[in-house]
């Protein structure tokens, strides 16, 4: 979907660009530009939904600018975000051979979603009628699950089966609807045990469930951005988390026939990074020096094979050999 993003004078991203793959795991120090990348794409989505008209005539010189190029069949389309400051990007200029092409891109951009899950929001009950999609913090999870069970029972069954395989201590997802039309969920534990209500579940259970909701979405978005995919989850489960996300980006590897979803995920866990040893082309390192940050693809490191003889990818990152670590004074 999105082939590359180039930044100029945007926050710490003064002059850098990034080729995007179907799957991208972004690592780096705090404040090094991981979230800025996701924010830029969100902004593109928002502005793309507005009419181009008058704004297209405006040109700003010297201000922050973000240039987005698209993958085939739209590789001759370019979108430029113009910003008045680091936080206000309100101008979108599009160079497209035809309106039809831009309309196709716009339709796909409109489906783009970004998430930074919050377990408390995910645990809260939700109006049954609001089951369209997860909020950016994962809120609305009960309604989304209930709607999935009601409207796409086969997909829900697959989601539930995968969830129970990953967390075999549970026996099923149970919904309760109150008189006010709000739905909440609990997890069965089999036998005569009382189901565990959502408010008593651990954070990791919510995050895993949230990722599964995305992974088994019958109508997935074109692009999904997820912050901190390792959060709350045991490191031995990271391989499974990676697979849940790979299902989105590489559907045929999972026996699914649909359009791939482009995934941009962030992590601060060296153990999660270890999961990408065989695919360094999927790893993006944000390098920050002083007030300036830039992106690097791990696969561009020519000495990577030698490094991996000496330690795991996560160890190499933590040590500082790969960069992407906080600066110390």
């Amino acid at each position: 979907m999105i082939a590359s993003v180039a930044f100029r004078n945007f926050k710490a991203l003064r002059n850098t660009s990034l080729r995007l793959s179907p799957f991208n795991i972004v690592i780096g120090a705090n404040g090094s530009g991981k979230t800025s990348l996701i924010q830029a794409l969100q902004r593109l989505r928002t502005l793309a939904m507005l009419p181009l008209g008058e704004a297209a005539a405006v040109t700003r010189v010297g201000g922050p600018e973000i240039t987005i190029a698209f993958a085939a069949p739209h590789s001759d389309v370019t979108a430029r975000l113009g910003c008045t400051s680091d936080v206000v990007c309100d101008l979108l200029r599009v160079e497209s051979p035809s309106q039809v092409q831009w309309d196709e891109i716009k339709a796909r951009l409109g489906t783009m979603r970004s998430y930074a899950f919050d377990h408390e929001a995910m645990a809260a009950s939700a109006l049954t009628t609001s089951g369209g999609g997860l909020a950016s913090n994962g809120a609305n999870l009960p309604a989304v699950l209930a709607a999935r069970q009601r409207n796409a029972p086969a997909e829900f069954a697959r989601l539930e089966a995968e969830f129970l395989r990953l967390l075999p201590e549970f026996s099923g997802i149970i919904f309760e609807e109150d008189s006010g039309g709000r739905v909440r969920f609990a997890l069965g534990i089999g036998g005569a045990g009382e189901p565990v209500r959502a408010e008593n579940l651990s954070q990791g259970v919510f995050y895993l469930l949230g990722l599964l909701v995305l992974s088994f979405d019958p109508v997935p978005p074109a692009v999904v951005c997820i912050e901190e995919i390792d959060r709350g989850i045991h490191p031995r489960m990271f391989r499974e988390v990676r697979d849940v996300l790979y299902r989105l980006s590489y559907p045929t590897s999972f026996g699914e026939i649909r359009e791939p979803v482009q995934v941009i995920a962030t992590t601060h866990s060296p153990y999660m990074l270890d999961q990408f040893r065989d695919h360094p082309e999927e790893v993006v390192i944000t390098q920050k020096h002083g007030h300036e940050a830039r992106f690097e693809r791990l696969s561009d490191r020519v000495d990577l094979p030698e490094l991996l003889r000496e330690g795991t990818l996560g160890d190499m990152w933590f040590s500082g050999v790969l960069g992407g670590v906080p600066e110390e004074r």
Binding site: R165, R239, Y246, T252, F254, Y271, D278, R309, G314, D315
Partner: protein, 211 residues
């Protein structure tokens, strides 16, 4: 026999369980939660702690360790000479860790030391899985390739041959791995012959425990 396993992934562990039973000719009593390392350098890092833990805190009598050789030097007959130690051969390194870690241990739980069982898959466990199915896959073929400077296959290619994708899900990986292991479970001789790194594991496992 009470056995603990240290491997690089759940799929490797599933294969190892089957192979251990096949070698012993009967189901071994395997510790339910396997010990896990995150790739090669980590195997050698955690191994001393695992040996120490098993020796003093459990009644496990055998620790089975496997790893991939990747592109490290392959263990050969020459490495078996007394006092020989190749600093980059993973078999030599793993054996040395066992030796050094437990040499000053007092006996515990009725045994002198936890028995060492080490196997190295050349270049990766998927080569063991393909043994007997793809005739071009063997330890000798890999060594010849290393010497000629032209490897006969890559680890990624071996994985694709087994899983039919570069990104198998874990259940798919385990399912495919166990399907291929079934061939070896019935008859280990080809694997033993074509992969000395597996033969070494067999030999260790069949050796008498050190009581």
């Amino acid at each position: 026999m009470k056995v603990a396993l240290l491997s690089e992934s759940p799929a490797d562990e599933a294969v190892l369980r089957v192979l251990v039973d096949a070698i012993l000719g009967e189901p071994a009593q395997v510790a339910p939660a396997g010990y896990r390392a995150r790739g090669w350098p980590n195997v050698i890092q955690v191994l001393p702690a695992v040996i120490r833990h098993l020796h003093f805190n459990t009644d496990v009598d055998t620790l089975v360790v496997t790893c991939d050789s990747d592109d490290s030097p392959v263990h050969t007959e020459a490495h078996e000479a007394p006092q020989y130690y190749h600093p980059h051969c993973r078999m030599c390194q793993l054996r040395a860790v066992f030796r050094q870690t437990s040499k000053r241990f007092p006996s515990a739980h009725g045994r002198l030391k936890v028995r060492r069982v080490v196997g190295v898959a050349v270049p990766a466990l998927e080569a063991w899985l393909l043994c007997g199915r793809d005739s071009d896959v063997s330890e000798a073929a890999w060594i010849n390739g290393q010497q000629a400077g032209r490897l006969p296959y890559t680890r990624a290619e071996l994985k694709f041959r087994i899983y039919q994708t570069e990104r198998p899900s874990l259940p798919h990986e385990i399912q495919c791995a166990l399907r291929e292991t079934e061939r070896h479970r019935r008859d280990l001789r080809r694997l033993e012959y074509d992969f000395p790194g597996f033969a070494a594991l067999m030999k260790d496992l069949k050796s008498p425990p050190q009581l």
